[in-house]
């Protein structure tokens, strides 16, 4: 009896308070309507006057660098029909976003970035993403934007809820780092349907998802790894067997950081051979085990290793090589974490990609600001590509994470 009455009471309070709650948000919108033309113009002028070129990352590099151009080839009729070693097999993954037809994109208010409310939803907790958030905050501060960062800790279900929560708080812009390229489609669609402008960041969504966003910014994983592969081929004189330590399955890096170099090497150094690929996760000891097994299995055939991560994975590789005394094997990895750069400096890693986490976070905010300021925004904005080697690693210290 007591239980029943409790449930009844609970339902009643819920229903009653719901109606109270529904009525509440209404007055909040009132002031927006009264805003006059003039302050808008003033705001735009102030916003345009802000100079962000002086902003620097914690590594001393400029936070914002000019965008790199990328050549977009024609799409083959059926990319999936091509062999996996062919770069065009991965066309839809690599060149997503360039040719997407935009749907229902809100028009820029062109009234200045200052004071705009932006919600950034990242995909999880990781030191890289901490640096990412810092970069985003730095730029938002420069533009006096109100930036809120949410993290779903790698949980897709939670990220979906956070998107709804973000929509519910009616921001001027949502920046989303999707957990997954394909699941992102529906996420962006939802934001788009809510009428909120949206920018995709870091993880490149599928072409289908790019329809709903103003643009995407982030590292050009494929391009970076092509660059890395070129460096690798040169070091090894276009010969030798390569093994790949992959990213965690489920995301585009899982493919970009393996098939980027594979397709590139196929093109520029066809004599080089793919020995094996394994995904031991981001654990040094497991990677060490895999690489040790490789050394046993392939012996002198193994000439180079490409890893998707320059910290734990690269450490595992270095340990295995050191134990086997194989100084001849070259190591290439993505990243520029502190651990990775230390590795480059110590000679454990031959080269890593330059992927500034802070810039990764800052560029989408910049894109948002540009959009608020009424500027033209390109659909894709890559971070600059660069391969860090022992020669220039000092320029990128101290590391961002």
């Amino acid at each position: 009896m007591l239980k029943k009455s409790l449930v009844l009471l609970l339902v009643l309070t819920m229903v009653a308070s719901l109606f109270a709650g529904c009525a509440a948000p209404a007055p909040a919108e009132a002031p927006a309507a009264t805003t006059a033309e003039d302050p808008n113009k003033k705001n735009l002028e102030d916003s345009l006057a802000i100079d962000i070129s002086t902003l620097k990352g914690t590594d001393g590099q400029p936070l914002i660098l000019p965008m790199e151009k990328k050549e977009i080839p024609a799409r083959p009729a059926d990319p999936a029909a091509l062999p996996e070693e062919d770069a065009l097999h991965w066309y839809d993954m690599e060149f997503a976003g360039w040719s997407a037809e935009k749907i229902n994109i809100p028009k820029s208010p062109a009234n200045g970035a200052i004071g705009k409310k932006v919600v950034t939803i990242i995909n999880g907790d990781h030191p890289y993403l901490t640096a990412y958030s810092n970069g985003a905050k730095k730029l938002a501060e420069a533009y006096k934007m109100d930036l809120k960062v949410m993290s779903p800790n790698w949980d897709l279900n939670v990220q979906n809820q956070m998107i709804d929560q973000a929509i519910n708080s009616k921001p001027d812009m949502i920046i989303l780092v999707p957990l997954d390229a394909k699941a992102a489609v529906q996420q962006f669609r939802k934001i788009n349907q809510a009428g909120i402008p949206c920018i995709a960041s870091n993880m490149l969504p599928e072409d289908e998802g790019m329809k709903y966003v103003i643009g995407w910014t982030g590292p050009d994983d494929w391009g970076q790894f092509r660059l890395l592969a070129q460096h690798l081929a040169k070091t090894l004189n276009n010969e030798g067997g390569i093994a790949y330590i992959r990213h965690a399955p489920g995301g585009s890096p899982f493919f970009a950081r393996t098939y980027g170099p594979i397709t590139e090497l196929k093109k520029i150094a066809p004599k080089m051979e793919v020995l094996d690929m394994q995904a031991p996760g981001f654990e040094a000891e497991k990677t060490m085990q895999v690489v040790s097994d490789w050394i046993t299995k392939f012996g002198p055939k193994l000439k180079g290793i490409v890893a998707a991560d320059d910290s734990a994975q690269a450490i595992g590789i270095a340990e295995a090589l050191k134990k086997a005394n194989r100084t001849d094997i070259v190591v290439y990895a993505a990243g520029n974490s502190k651990v990775g750069m230390d590795g480059v400096k110590a000679g454990n890693i031959n080269a890593i990609t330059y992927q500034s986490a802070e810039a990764d976070g800052a560029v989408p905010v910049l894109m948002a600001a540009d959009w608020f300021n009424g500027k033209e925004v390109e659909p894709v904005r890559y971070l600059p590509k660069h391969v860090i080697t022992k020669d220039d690693v000092d320029n990128y210290m101290p590391a961002q994470w």
Partner: protein, 342 residues
């Protein structure tokens, strides 16, 4: 004397209904303090987010009532998700949904057979099948996520036609209600409690305990697969590794089931309470997120809730143990003042 009885009853009542109290407290606090928390949109959002956990909690609770543990629910959920999306382009929604759920059922039957017939500890069996199923999922999807471009169903399933209850939530709520009725109101359902409470007795009373266990694991896997499938339908895509990073749905459901009052020893538990616990945890997360707190605070808070519940349970058990067999007339003697007060 009357006092003792009354206080005993109240504490018993609180004990039985603690999850509702926790939920109300969390809900009221969030309503009072969290910005943008209390409106239809957000509450629908909470329910939508909780529906996956609620669906998984149904079967998980039944397995736990039987005194067992199903660690494979997270993998099974992924299996349901990946299959329904993977098969849709060729077979359409209906067939692929049925196939996905049935595939989950197969995992459950294997779990059940290994636990009931091979008599291996369920913790171990499901730890093994968890790995195996996850491997199969990766093989099926080649480590990639997959999607469909047909959004019609996705839009329908998550749209709040009835306030607070989009179809996905409605399906979940109906499933919770049906299974609760099945479990507590039908003789067959009661059998799960019997099997969990004392397997030997249940067997001697003529229950086919093995079949009960197999059924429990099958229901668990079916519901997990269904939950995963519905979730993936709602986003028109499936990710092979939900829960591999961060906090797995398994841990959330496990925590919720315990907070909801289901005993790990078996024989005790309620699906509705587990479901309410999932919603309560979702509300806690959502409310804290409204404040803009980071994920660390949210996980800290839910851990704290779990810790308090576990401590309270341990304390209640300890007290019960201490007081078992006390003679009321001797206590009366104490009250009369023949002895020093306790």
């Amino acid at each position: 004397m009357l006092n003792i009885i009354r206080s005993k009853n109240i504490s018993k009542w609180i004990d039985n209904n603690r999850i509702y109290l926790i939920f109300i407290v969390v809900f009221l606090l969030a309503t009072a303090f969290a910005p943008n928390f209390f409106n239809l949109f957000n509450l629908t959002n909470i329910l939508r987010g909780a529906s996956l956990g609620m669906m998984v909690a149904i079967g998980f609770t039944i397995v736990m009532i039987c005194g067992h543990m199903d660690l494979s629910v997270a993998s099974t959920l992924n299996l349901g998700a990946i299959l329904v999306i993977g098969m849709q382009p060729r077979f359409g929604w209906t067939v692929s949904l049925i196939a996905a759920v049935l595939a989950g059922g197969i995992v459950g039957i294997i779990n059940g057979l290994l636990v009931a017939k091979a008599k291996i500890h369920s913790f171990i069996v499901t730890l093994g099948t968890m790995t195996i199923v996850q491997g199969i999922i990766y093989m099926y999807s080649h480590g990639s996520s997959i999607n469909v471009t047909d959004f019609a169903l996705a839009d329908w399933i998550d749209k709040a036609v009835i306030p607070l209850l989009p179809p996905r939530v409605l399906i979940t709520v109906i499933a919770v209600a049906l299974f609760e009725v099945f479990l507590t109101r039908t003789p067959y359902g009661k059998g799960f409690y019997m099997v969990g409470g004392n397997k030997e007795t249940a067997w001697l009373a003529g229950f086919n305990t093995d079949r009960y266990l197999i059924n429990a694991f099958t229901i668990s896997a079916l519901m997990a697969a269904l939950g995963g499938a519905l979730f993936s339908i709602s986003i028109s895509s499936a990710v092979p590794n939900m829960g591999e990073k961060g906090v797995s749905p398994l841990m959330i459901v496990l925590a919720a089931t315990i907070i909801g009052g289901t005993s790990m020893a078996g024989g005790k538990g309620s699906i509705v309470k587990s479901a309410v616990a999932v919603i309560a945890l979702g509300t806690l997360f959502n409310g804290l997120n409204c404040f803009g707190t980071g994920y660390e605070v949210q996980i800290f808070a839910s851990g704290l809730v779990l810790a308090i519940v576990v401590l309270y349970e341990a304390f209640a058990l300890y007290k019960q143990d201490r007081l078992r067999g006390q003679r009321p007339e001797l206590l009366k003697e104490l009250e009369d003042g023949r002895f020093k007060k306790i």
